[in-house]
Amino acid sequence: MTLTAPAPSSTADSISIRGAVKIYGSGNGQHVALHNVDVDIKRGQFVSIIGPSGCGKSTLLRLIAGLETADAGTAEVFGVTPERACAAKMIGLVPQAPALLPWKDVLGNVSMPAKVNRRADKLRRRIHGHLERPAPDMLDLLGKAGLTDAVHKLPAQLSGGMQQRTAIVRAFGVQPDVLLMDEPFSALDEFTRESIQEQLLDIWDENKTTVVFVTHSVSEAVRLSDKVLVMSARPGRITASVDITLPRPRSQAMLKTAEFHHFEDVIRDHLQTAWQENPITGSTSIPTPAGAVK
């Protein structure tokens, strides 16, 4: 596309975090949210981050989103800084609360990203490796999310699940290189949760956007992800990385299979170990668990 394509760097095709440190507060109230965290997420992967409260998984997500800056270490999103990635609208964020504009109907809300930062497209074309895609048909995307009947409804007229689906469509609508989701389903009931997971996978199958998904739920992580990063707290660090090799598409029925339970058990074990060790100081020589890859 571009005449002067920059030389491909090693991180151009992945989200890469190196030696990230984030410390909140100081003195006795000091809280090490991230301690020497290294992460590599390849383009097109669905990666979940799981761990107990306060393990820094949201901080890690916010680092990628450019909402936080690391006290040490680097963060790169497909070869550029998170700030530049935001400027080029490469990042779609789905926060825990749907964060919809209450005065806009569903269509107005999902069309909102296109109305701000119009210079992003130009910037985007200059970033190496960016996949050029036509602007999506929002009505079509809303239809896939099961929101056809709600297109002209206001957020206050929607259920929690529909609000969150609207937020997901809004994030997908900018055709982001990476979709960052911060416990997006934690406020929903089990039934709604599972049906939204299915719709998320449907849309993701078509778009193959890279997804970083923060969650509390083991089964959610296993069902959705290619790779699950297990984090533990005090200090916040990644203790294991589990590749989920289950075939796709992953239907509701798969939740009951032995393979599915196997991966759930592996992740639960990692969470348990991280919980029991709970070292006072963050040692960098934490043994890599057997199930971890990379």
């Binding site: 916010r62 989103a65 450019g66 909402l67 935001c86 400027a87 080029a88 609208k89 990042i91 779609g92 964020l93 926060p95 825990q96 609360a97 749907p98 964060a99 504009l101 209450p102 005065w103 806009k104 909102m112 990203p113 109305k115 701000v116 930062n117 992003a120 206001l154 206050a156 007229q157 809004r170 900018v174 960052l180």
Partner: protein, 288 residues
């Protein structure tokens, strides 16, 4: 509920079943005409009649305390054009003053919400001035600017200024962190954020301020007129002149006009608010 107990405890008459009174209150009127139900208007009507009788009795015994209601009505009927033109003069001052105060305070509210330095400097002063009875400076302004429209407009604008400033500044900053994060990752500019997110978020706060400020603007205009006895027109002037001539009926006729004017303004602003803020939570409950 409808099962009658074998032995009524205290009451001799057959106990009235609970569902029975309900059809009576739901008299088949559509929901939006609910105010036609006696249960809705009767308490007010009874109180009004009671107050009217109390007024008439007082007026008969001591005519210098209150004029007879009939004489107030006569005063209004004898010269409706007089009250109308003076009401219009007061209303014009109130609305123009309000418009000036609105524009100035809105601009300052945006400034204050965007610049922390401006906020720290201006907001404490704004809060102190908002609780100061600014109508008290009306006489001083009359001394400074004379009997023209200037002192009236300044008082009215000043009175409207601070409630709008404080509410809109709060409203502009009422955006939830999650929404801000979404727009930050989209790299929306401050202007885009202001226009697409902050200003609509501030609308409910603005209307709260307007409902306070519309009646206040009339108060400002009337007080300014009262302080400028040489002024040619306005209901405040009418009241001032009539009371110095002991014409109580005219005073109360003018006050009656002011009350009607204030109520109409309040009705208009509420109607506009209903249209503009139809999306707001407070208006969603009825629909669902």
């Amino acid at each position: 509920m409808s099962v009658i107990t074998p032995e009524p405890v205290t009451v001799q008459e057959p106990p009235v079943t609970a569902p029975a009174p309900q059809p009576a209150t739901k008299s088949g009127l559509p929901k939006r005409l609910g105010f036609l139900r006696p249960a809705y208007w009767l308490p007010l009507a009874v109180l009004l009649v009671g107050l009217g009788i109390l007024w008439s009795v007082t007026a008969r015994d001591s005519p210098y305390l209150l004029p007879p209601l009939a004489s107030v009505g006569e005063a209004l009927a004898a010269n409706p054009g007089f009250y109308l033109s003076n009401a219009w003069a007061t209303l014009a001052v109130a609305l123009v003053g309000l418009a000036i105060g609105f524009v100035a305070s809105f601009i300052l509210a945006v400034l204050v919400s965007e610049l922390p330095i401006a906020r720290r400097a201006i907001m404490p002063i704004a809060v102190v001035l908002s609780v100061t009875p600014l109508v008290a400076i009306a006489p001083a302004l009359v001394v400074a600017f004379g009997f023209g429209p200037e002192p009236k407009l300044i008082v009215t604008a000043l009175i409207c200024f601070f409630p709008i400033l404080i509410n809109v500044a709060t409203g502009l900053r009422s955006v939830s962190p999650a929404v801000l994060q979404v727009f930050t990752t989209l790299h929306a500019s401050r202007l885009e954020l202001l226009w697409h997110v902050r200003m609509p978020s501030a609308l409910p706060y603005l209307f709260t301020a307007l409902r306070v400020v519309f009646p206040l603007s009339i108060i400002g205009a009337v007080v300014a007129e009262l302080s400028a006895p040489g002024a040619a027109e306005g209901l405040g002037t009418v009241i001032s002149v009539a009371s110095s001539n002991n014409r109580l009926a005219v005073v109360y006729a003018a006050i009656f006009c002011l009350a009607i004017m204030g109520s109409l303004l309040l009705l208009i602003i509420t109607a506009i608010e209903d249209r503009v803020l139809h999306w707001h939570e407070s208006r969603q409950g009825a629909k669902n």
